[in-house]
């Protein structure tokens, strides 16, 4: 597998194939092409089948609406990104730490884990109302809601990942005289990493949901606010505009997490 990829790279580098381009460039080109085709189909289908704008406006109309008031979208995008990122980062860190704690201290897991499960059965809307009461209409409140949706899958997957560690591997490390800290850093956490990343990918979209739902409880900027305003004014084009912006944010964030995964967990795809 390694040999073939390096072979392909060599070919591309020496230009054996005339159309040879780096793999990432080719992938990006294909992706852009795919997007362009989708946009074209969208645009022409609306015209061709005379779809009423209430159901689906033309893409160009949406893009022009965004271009007309770019400030609102840029600010909303940045604000929601900040909420999402803070919620994601704290939620992931908390999730990994609690996962480790539950793995190491069985009693803690039996005491706290059921409470975690209960916390996740509370609808996020109910929880959101509470959070807004606590923190007001601040950025922090949205981040807390994003955190709330994020940490649980990370806790569960960290725990799952840590439990997949081969006892023989642990025995080997112990025979070297490894302390429990060394075991954790050199064996258990790296082993759990692929599993943790599964949760992080999930958490990247969940944290965005948390941030947007959080904004619905009242705020002045954010993609969620744009969405809500558009809904109240029945402005279909604005709804689609906010939707596209949210999709861009969600996809971009997911792509960043997935890229980090490919870089950090390079071994799991090749085994």
């Amino acid at each position: 597998m390694g040999a073939t990829t390096s072979l392909v790279k060599d070919k591309a580098a020496t230009g054996l194939r005339p159309a040879g381009r780096p793999a990432w460039l080719r992938k990006t080109a294909r992706l852009l092409f795919g997007l362009a085709v989708t946009a074209l189909i969208w645009e022409s289908a609306v015209q061709l089948f005379v779809i009423r704008p209430v159901y689906l406006p033309r893409l160009s109309t949406i893009l022009m609406a965004i271009a007309a008031t770019p400030g609102a979208y840029v600010n909303g995008f940045l604000r929601t990104s900040a909420e999402t990122l803070i919620g994601f980062a704290t939620g992931s860190a908390f999730g990994v730490l609690t996962g480790i704690a539950f793995f190491r201290v069985r009693a803690l897991r039996e005491m706290i884990f059921p409470i975690f499960v209960v916390s996740q059965t509370i609808p996020v809307i109910a929880f959101g109302a509470l959070v807004v009461l606590w923190f007001g209409n601040t950025l922090l409140a949205k981040a807390v809601i994003a955190f709330y949706l994020t940490f649980f899958p990370v806790t569960v997957n960290t725990l799952l990942g840590l439990e997949t560690v081969d006892p023989k591997q642990v025995a080997l490390m112990r025979s070297f005289g490894a302390s429990s800290g060394q075991l954790l850093l050199r064996l258990q956490l790296p082993t759990a990493l692929p599993q943790i990343f599964v949760a992080l990918r999930l958490a990247s979209s969940l944290s965005l949901v948390g941030a947007i739902v959080g904004e619905w409880f009242g705020d002045t900027t954010g993609l969620g606010v744009l969405l809500l305003q558009a809904m109240f004014t029945e402005n279909v084009v604005a709804i689609w505009g906010a939707l596209l912006a949210a999709a861009l944010l969600g996809t971009g964030f997911y792509a960043v997490v997935a890229a980090a995964e490919r870089r950090l967990v390079f071994w799991s795809a090749e085994q």
Partner: protein, 287 residues
């Protein structure tokens, strides 16, 4: 040769030449281990002299691995047995970090390249990475891994992975090396090459080795002494000195002395295998 190792590896009082038999590096007396109703070892007696290459053979399920786990410090034997290491009586747990242990599978970490896998034990010991890597790089040629230092385990063949695991064991310089069927998963040709290679490396570094195998040829070819274990509960049934000259050539496996030793050992193992087979059948009937 053994005298040289003694002075190097263990500080003992008096001149080693004066004593007829060197005092053992590892000594097990009346060691017993039970797991609930199952007795894995019962009254096991064994000793390993410094610099010696001792091989252990026995029917499957005879408690070889239990024996190794005890000597590696991973499991505590039942009370009453005596465990002595470097002349001092000790608990199994005291042996953690003092014996370099190589389990059956290579257990290489997939996120570490060849060099970083080899230095794992040194890192655990607290040696700075740069220093440990330099040490490992010097050893690469001997382990046939030159040019592969940056490769990851999934890019290596089975034989190479095993050599990386052996290198990790060698780099963790301890008085005693425990090898648990290290070549069990390799094909016959690679295996024969690895055996010869191991003997070369052993003679160069003069380590003490306790080596588990289920292959009688391998046990004779490598060992100074072969211990045959009984069926479960395991103890030492037969202790056979292998007085074949070293260095041993591959042709030795067809020499009459070799074949004679093999006959003796196979008879002993066969007897024990029959016992464990019969007891398994009896158990089957009982349930």
């Amino acid at each position: 040769m053994q005298a040289a190792i003694q002075t190097k590896d263990m500080p003992i009082a008096g001149s080693p030449e004066a004593t007829a038999k060197p005092s053992p590096l590892l000594e097990l007396r009346a060691v017993t281990k039970t797991y609930g109703p199952v007795a894995a070892l019962s009254g096991l007696e064994a000793s390993v002299a410094p610099g010696e290459f001792v091989t252990v053979v026995g029917p499957s399920g005879c408690g070889k691995s239990t024996l190794f786990n005890i000597v590696a410090g991973l499991e505590e034997p039942d009370a009453g047995g005596i465990l002595r290491f470097e002349g001092n009586s000790c608990h199994a747990a005291d042996l953690l970090g003092r014996v370099s242990f190589m389990p059956q599978r290579d257990l290489l970490l997939p996120w570490r390249n060849v060099v970083d896998n080899a230095i794992l034990a040194l890192e655990v010991e607290g040696m700075p990475r740069a220093q440990a890597r330099a040490k490992a790089l010097k050893m690469l040629p001997e382990f046939g891994l030159t040019g592969f230092e940056k490769q990851y385990p999934h890019q290596l063949s089975g034989g190479m992975r095993q050599r990386v695991a052996l290198m990790r064991t060698f780099l963790f310089e301890r008085g005693l090396m425990l090898l648990d069927e290290p070549f069990g998963a390799l094909d016959a040709l690679t295996r024969a090459m690895m055996q010869r290679w191991l003997l070369d490396v052993w003679q160069k570094y003069r380590r003490t080795i306790l080596f588990i195998t289920h292959d009688v040829d391998e046990a004779i070819f490598l060992g100074d002494r072969v211990l045959v274990m009984t069926a479960r509960p395991g103890s030492v049934k037969l202790e056979q000195v292998v007085d074949l000259p070293r260095p041993r050539r591959p042709e030795i496996v067809t020499a009459p002395e070799f074949v004679r030793l093999k006959r003796t050992l196979l008879d002993a193992i066969e007897e024990e295998s029959m016992k464990s087979f019969q007891s398994a059948v009896a158990q089957e009937k009982a349930t």
